[in-house]
């Protein structure tokens, strides 16, 4: 038997009205709150990428310094390990007196979360450059600077990028907490869902955060492939 178009539409409307299909509700929410969602996605991305950029700017040079003088490695990585143990939510709350509310404390907390993977992978990346390759570079007459930029950095880069990727996914997932201190982002959908006890919003927020995280991870992989073709032969 074939349902007429009329009947199908009727079915859909009653289902939405009666509220027994979560999907219908989620689609309805997207329809009505589309613009707000776009803003939230944009804020979410912005906060995450700012934190990631800060983490790279802090983590990669520190990682390099730690490799060249192993004595200071623990002094560099220990603080971040300690900080990472503290839950991000706690950091957010603790930062309120210092950095207030809004985007800034959110970015700071997420940076603290993102530095360790970048830092550790940078250390491993530089350490794993085969000594004989460095030596052959020196033997050819490359200066220390040339060896650093033309050999050591490119060879450490795949590992550093793997660290950045880990940090990226972690940061996007955790950025949902930022809404808690008024920084916006997709966390708003989730916290609204929690507040109103609406399962559909909780699930929608969760799905969007996960999708964003997967999407960014995928884009990042494409970038890695373009930059380092020799890794994928």
């Amino acid at each position: 038997m074939r349902l007429s178009g009329e009947q199908t539409r009727w079915n859909r409307e009653t289902a939405a009205a009666e509220g027994d299909s979560m999907w219908e509700k989620m689609i309805a929410y997207i329809m009505t709150h589309g613009d707000a969602l776009l803003v939230q996605i944009r804020t979410h991305l912005w906060i995450s990428l700012a934190a990631l950029a800060a983490a790279v700017v802090i983590g990669a040079p520190c990682g390099y310094l730690a490799t060249d003088s192993p004595g200071i490695e623990k002094w560099i990585s220990a603080p971040f390990h300690v900080l990472r143990v503290i839950p991000s939510l706690a950091i957010l709350v603790l930062l309120i007196p210092v950095a207030g509310t809004g985007a800034l404390p959110a970015v700071i907390a997420l940076t603290i979360l993102a530095v360790p993977p970048v830092l550790l992978n940078t250390i491993v990346g530089f350490r794993d450059v085969p000594p004989f390759i460095e030596e052959s570079a020196a033997g050819m007459g490359m200066t220390d600077r040339e060896i650093l930029w033309k050999v050591r950095v490119p060879l450490a880069l795949p590992m550093i990028f793997a660290g950045i990727r880990t940090a990226l996914v972690e940061v996007i997932a955790s950025a949902a907490l930022a809404a808690r201190i008024g920084a916006g982002g997709l966390g708003e959908v989730i916290f609204t869902g929690l507040g109103l006890n609406r399962m559909d919003l909780l699930v929608l927020g969760g799905i969007l955060v996960a999708a964003l995280s997967l999407l960014c991870g995928g884009l990042f992989d494409t970038l890695t492939r373009r930059l380092m073709p020799y890794r994928y032969l």
């Binding site: 004989f132 390759i133 460095e134 020196a138 033997g139 050819m140 007459g141 032969l233």
Partner: protein, 298 residues
């Protein structure tokens, strides 16, 4: 060939002169790793032989009071068992290691007074593992130094083509490959091409054919002889294969436990071994050979 290395007016100035060169390693050197750039050759075994020979606990001489003269245009092979100081000697020649005593002259000039980077750019250096940069294509690997010297892209490309031809690789097929897409023998050829890129007058080759099979090795040896003939450079070739050493070298340096035992033309060494160690070495090589001649073939 017009690929000739600019030769100095054929004066009597030797290409390389080693004067009482010594290199001492402390036992803790390798562990402490005080200098990142100058680390122990990852293939040489730690200390045992050197320590035993010097009979000291804290340190030993990897190269001990070595004097030798290499004439311009010679192909010298350096023969000796593992750990006898061959690599150390080569690395002192391009200042990857600093000697603890004596001096080394390059075309009459003390290398100690020259800038290491400039010095190394005057010499080609090939190591056993080829040491190609995995993130660069064959073309980029070969033209690393030319590009650092700001050669025109055109000139770099032509030079790469020329060099790939020289080492027997089809330029069109190989120039844009990555090292991981090459066989061990092909990597060695590229390593050789890279070292030859700026037409250095001196080539330092540290067991460049260590990791290839017998047939490839024979081919590479023939290519090397051809390249040496065509370029007219001075080649220092380290090996621990006595057949390779005697086949390739205009003269052979035989080392043991950091000391130079004999340096002479292969025939002369076979006829008058200067030392019981050299004699044993030659006898053992002949013992091995005997199998081939004593097994009748149809």
């Amino acid at each position: 060939m017009n690929d000739s290395f600019e030769k100095k007016s054929t004066g009597a100035v030797p290409a390389i002169e080693y004067r009482n060169v010594c290199k001492r390693f402390e036992r803790t050197d390798a562990k402490r790793g005080h200098s990142r750039r100058v680390r122990k050759d990852s293939l040489s075994e730690a200390g045992a032989s050197g320590i035993a020979s010097s009979g000291q606990k804290d340190g030993f001489y990897a190269v001990n009071d070595l004097s030798a003269t290499v004439r311009d245009g010679e192909l010298i092979t350096i023969l000796g068992s593992s750990g006898c100081g061959k690599t150390t000697l080569l690395k002192m020649t391009n200042r990857l290691y600093e000697p603890d005593g004596g001096s080394i002259l390059l075309f009459g000039q003390d290398i100690q007074k020259q800038d290491p980077v400039q010095l190394r750019r005057k010499m080609g250096y090939v190591i056993q593992q080829a040491g190609l940069f995995p993130h660069m294509t064959v073309e980029d690997n070969i033209s690393v130094i030319p590009r650092l010297l700001k050669w025109e892209p055109e000139r770099c490309r032509d030079r790469v083509t020329e060099l790939l031809d020289l080492v027997g690789l089809d330029p069109d097929q190989y120039r844009s490959r990555y090292p991981s897409q090459l066989s061990g023998g092909q990597q060695q050829r590229v390593g050789l091409a890279r070292a030859l890129a700026t037409k250095p007058r001196v080539m330092l080759l540290d067991e460049p054919f260590g990791a290839v099979d017998a047939i490839t090795r024979l081919n590479l040896q023939n290519e090397l002889l051809r390249i040496h003939r065509e370029t007219g450079g001075t080649f220092l070739f380290v090996t621990h294969d006595i057949h390779e050493a005697f086949r390739l070298g205009n003269r052979v340096m035989i080392m043991n436990a950091g000391r130079l035992l004999q340096m002479d033309r292969p025939e002369t060494i076979v006829r008058n071994p200067a030392d019981p160690f050299v004699e044993t070495l030659i006898r053992s090589a002949m013992e091995q050979e005997r199998f081939w001649y004593s097994t009748p073939r149809e």
